[in-house]
Symmetry: C2
Subunit: 206 residues, 2 copies
């Protein structure tokens, strides 16, 4: 298997892997260079500094992550289905990229860096009309009265935490990687039922 991508891309790919795994202050420029099979000087030749390279990676990862969550809102499914799908999507995405939530959260709190992506997501969501959908469902008593913050907190808590705290949970219960990820499939079902019956205690339709 030969990597025939450009040197710039090789560095970018390696940087993404290393940054996500160890964080900005947990790795060195030389480590990224080594991981990409390139020279240290090349990293700075293409990206000017470790910091600049990190910003590029971080913004890309953030956008990828946000987009995977957002796309569900623009569909025309029912509110209940949207949340059901949202949970499903988050679990799937994070299963494939288990370290990304922790990476984003850690680096976002490292320094108070502003990220347009973070703010823009909320605008996109409110523009999708899902808020009005929620208001309507709450009006007729189908849905519990709870704001968007509460809903997203419930979903993200139960979807992201099991992956963020993987190391802790694994050590506590002595589970292998395989066992742990298998268990999370069961947990996903629990979480889905718990959140949906909490948000929609009086199902009128569906």
């Amino acid at each position: 298997m030969i990597d025939c991508s450009s040197s710039e891309d090789k560095i970018k790919d390696a940087a993404k892997r290393v940054f996500i795994l160890k964080g900005f202050s947990g790795c060195t420029s030389r480590e990224i260079a080594r991981e990409s099979g390139m020279n240290v000087a090349l990293v700075n030749y293409y990206f000017r500094s470790k910091d600049k390279l990190f910003q590029i990676i971080f913004q890309a990862v953030l956008e990828e992550f946000m987009l995977s969550m957002y796309s569900v809102f623009s569909s025309d499914a029912s509110l209940k289905d949207k949340i059901r799908i949202l949970i499903e999507r988050e679990y799937d995405f994070i299963s494939k990229n288990p370290e990304i939530p922790g990476f984003i959260i850690n680096e976002l709190s490292r320094e108070n860096k502003e990220s347009s992506e973070v703010v823009e997501l909320l605008n996109k969501i409110s523009a999708s009309g899902v808020m009005k959908q929620a208001e309507a469902a709450q009006q007729i008593g189908e849905m519990r009265k709870i704001d968007i913050i509460g809903i997203s907190l419930l979903v993200t808590s139960n979807c992201q935490y099991p992956f963020i705290a993987k190391s802790l949970l694994q050590k506590m219960h002595g589970l292998s990687d395989k066992d742990y990820f298998e268990y999370l499939e069961t947990h996903k079902k629990n979480v889905t039922e718990m959140i949906l019956t909490f948000l929609f205690p009086n199902p009128t339709v569906n």
Copy 2:
């Protein structure tokens, strides 16, 4: 306000603050020395190395954190009350130490360090008889059939995540520290109700 504690304690206190805030690889020995008002050499005079100092701090923090969660299990309250109190306790403890869960999780996954405290907690919990309490409640159909991993995942997800992801959530919704922590008080009530009605769908007593 004069700090009249010993130099060793001053270093330990500063190290705890700095390590929790920035992580092991996010800070330097000189930063800890400066923060404690001491000399760099003194840090190594008392603790031999940055690594040794970190281990001491980490184990202490881990024990403090685990103990605050565990103590509820040894009471003679009903199972439902134990979980209710557990959520209350976790929220209270983490409100006062918001960075500790993230600190523990991050440092635990940094290297595969074994921590006896993590394993011991489970032994203490099973020794407290709460497992049998759960089995009994599940036998009579009062409690949903779910194992200890699932329960602790539900509780910790909904209690710890809101603090771990504070930076992300705050930026998304544009909340000040005060607003955010206020909101979490409301969220705690939601979480408590959600988890309890999920775990105990058919209340027989209480």
